[in-house]
């Protein structure tokens, strides 16, 4: 099982000091957090994508490439990649680039995005959200799997004789997860392709997660990718820990009360009861997290949200220490002991390459003149006339 963290990339005032970090500070803090995640033994770092303040992460592949260069084992992912408003051609190119630079340590999580104005800013309509996700992802898959793509659809300019470069590393596209809180169509999409399904599992009651995962597993089996319990499931989770649980509650309360998503509503105690949020000792986090399995079954990836709601970098790094030293080692052991042998691990580049029968260089060379070795370039031919 993979353990890691995901960041929303919000720039939020620290309610205890009133100070708001600059974009530069938050961006650098996220780089530090990602490096620390590898240092404390976590497996995955996933970064969000947003195109409006108070978020900084408009270009996740830039950030993830930097992190790739400074880490060696950390799996890099997204939370989420906007499959609706991004051009699928650009996603194919950007993430194949990142996959090469990171030596395959890349997967993606597709999401539709829920910020209304982002759709019109990118020339789209939010009412087309599901259709955009379906069409764009179908094209993205072809761009990674077919060297030359001829394509025509509803939402983007047609493509004739298009080759997305670079070709996926070793001829194997990155693994894809699909994230959705409550749209069965997205769970259906994940099941249809045999891709992973991720439920963010934060800010909402676990019943929503349970119903979505049950549906995805049932449909995964329906589409013949394996039995329902072999489907690839990932969950989010939100925690705040101190050795002494009362200290955790006391320290986290002002951040909770003023948080952008749920602040000024239910109390910390009510929200902890109603959603998977756990504020307490590492032991409490271990117990609660092991309980997730009771309603989603054996799953492959657990990501925690730690840097959020204005928590200072120092505090986030302390949380990572607790997670890496006290929580994840126990979770690894306990989850592994519970998992039946026929339930697979989350796919990685290595496992996908092995499943494809070994690495194959997929470079597509431009057609060259056999005599001169010169590349035939139609544009320059036109210019020469």
């Amino acid at each position: 099982m993979q353990f890691g963290i995901f960041s929303v990339s919000d720039i939020t005032p620290d309610p205890t000091t009133g100070r708001t970090p600059t974009e530069a500070e938050r961006l650098k803090a996220v780089l530090t957090i990602a490096q620390k995640a590898e240092e404390v033994g976590l497996d995955v770092f996933a970064l969000g994508e947003h195109h409006n303040p108070p978020f900084f992460s408009s270009s996740p592949t830039t950030t993830l490439a930097w992190i790739a260069a400074r880490t060696s084992t950390l799996q890099l992912s997204t939370a989420t990649t906007l499959i609706t408003t991004n051009d699928p051609v650009k996603i194919a190119e950007d993430y194949a680039m990142l996959q090469h630079l990171a030596d395959g340590r890349v997967d993606l999580m597709m999401g539709r995005g829920n910020t209304g104005p982002v759709y019109p800013w990118f020339g789209k309509d939010i009412r087309d959200g599901i259709e955009l996700a379906v069409e764009n992802y179908a094209l993205l898959r072809r761009l990674w799997r077919e060297d030359v793509v001829n394509w025509e659809g509803k939402f983007r300019t047609p493509l004739q004789g298009f080759t997305s470069t670079p070709r996926p590393l070793d001829g194997v596209p990155p693994f894809v997860w699909h994230g959705s809180i409550r749209s069965p169509q997205i769970a259906e999409q994940a099941a249809y392709y045999g891709d992973g399904f991720f439920h963010n599992h934060i800010f909402w009651p676990p019943e929503h997660t349970q119903r979505m995962v049950e549906f995805y597993r049932r449909r995964f089996e329906h589409y013949g990718h394996g039995s329902a319990d072999q489907a690839i499931v990932g969950l989010g989770g939100q925690v705040f820990m101190r050795k002494n649980s009362q200290d955790a509650v006391k320290e986290f309360r002002p951040y909770f009360d003023n948080a952008p998503v749920y602040g000024h509503g239910p109390s910390l105690e009510e929200f902890t009861e109603q959603t998977p949020l756990t504020v307490g000792s590492p032991e409490q986090v271990i117990e609660r997290t092991l309980g997730f399995r009771d309603y989603v079954g054996d799953y492959q990836r657990q990501l925690f949200l730690l840097d959020h709601a204005g928590l200072p970098l120092k505090t986030v790094l302390e949380q990572l220490d607790l997670l890496g030293e006290e929580v994840v080692p126990v979770l690894r052991k306990e989850f592994a002991a519970l998992k039946p042998a026929h339930v697979p691990d989350a796919p990685t580049h290595a496992s996908l390459v092995a499943a494809a029968g070994g690495a194959q260089d997929a470079t597509v060379y431009a057609g060259a003149d056999d005599v001169t070795g010169q590349v035939r370039d139609e544009t320059s031919e036109v210019e020469a006339r």
Binding site: E131, A138, E188, P266
Partner: protein, 206 residues
């Protein structure tokens, strides 16, 4: 004898509440009218005051807590709805509106609804027509032609205004009973049933 469920939403705040009083009169009359049509009604009352904080929380968090979700499920799953609000500042109360704000926009589509409102004077009575009816038209509910307004003076005994109120209640209840009796039992769709449209069809449509 067939059975139908009748949900009653009351946004009254005081105890006793004239809004609840009107809701109860409308309910009793509708149950009687359904009985005349051979239908036994099961009545479920939702007092919005009990969910006041939960409704505010739902606006902030985007989800209903368990007690509020149970109330929402009651209303969405019912065969007919009686919705009664006090008039505040020339419209339905904020509490009343918040409950209908947190429902899914399709949740009340085609549902028979009887509207009622209460206020201190009859000068507010058209709120039923120019505030409440448009709200339920947006939600695509089927609202009875008669909506019932009760001002303080309507509760006075004797003939005249009180008699007129009783007459309006019976007429509205009969209309609601006709709507409920004229359609099959409510069966809200489960979004997690196997899809009726295959994913291949979804792909082809794009």
């Amino acid at each position: 004898m067939t059975t139908r469920t009748l949900a009653v939403v009351s946004a009254g705040l005081s105890t006793p509440s004239s809004t609840r009083l009107l809701a109860d009169r409308l309910t009793a009359a509708t149950v009687a009218a359904l009985a005349e049509r051979g239908i036994t009604a099961t009545v479920e009352v939702v007092e919005l005051r009990e969910h006041a904080r939960s409704l505010a929380d739902n606006l902030v968090t985007g989800f209903a807590n368990k007690p509020l979700q149970a109330a929402v499920d009651t209303v969405v799953g019912a065969d007919g709805l009686i919705a009664v609000t006090p008039i505040f500042s020339a419209s339905y109360s904020g509490l009343f509106k918040t409950f209908f704000d947190v429902l899914d926009k399709d949740a009340l589509a085609a549902k028979p609804v009887l509207l009622g409102a209460t206020a201190g004077t009859a000068r507010h009575s058209l709120v039923l027509e120019h505030a409440m009816r448009p709200l339920f038209a947006y939600l695509r509910a089927v609202v009875t032609p008669t909506a019932v307004f009760a001002a303080s003076e309507d509760w006075a005994g004797g003939d005249g205004p009180a008699g007129a109120l009783a007459g309006r209640i019976d007429r509205a209840a009969g209309e609601l009973a006709d709507l409920i009796a004229g359609r099959p039992p409510a069966a809200p769709a489960d979004p997690f049933d196997d899809p009726t449209t295959s994913f291949e069809d979804l792909l082809r449509r794009s």
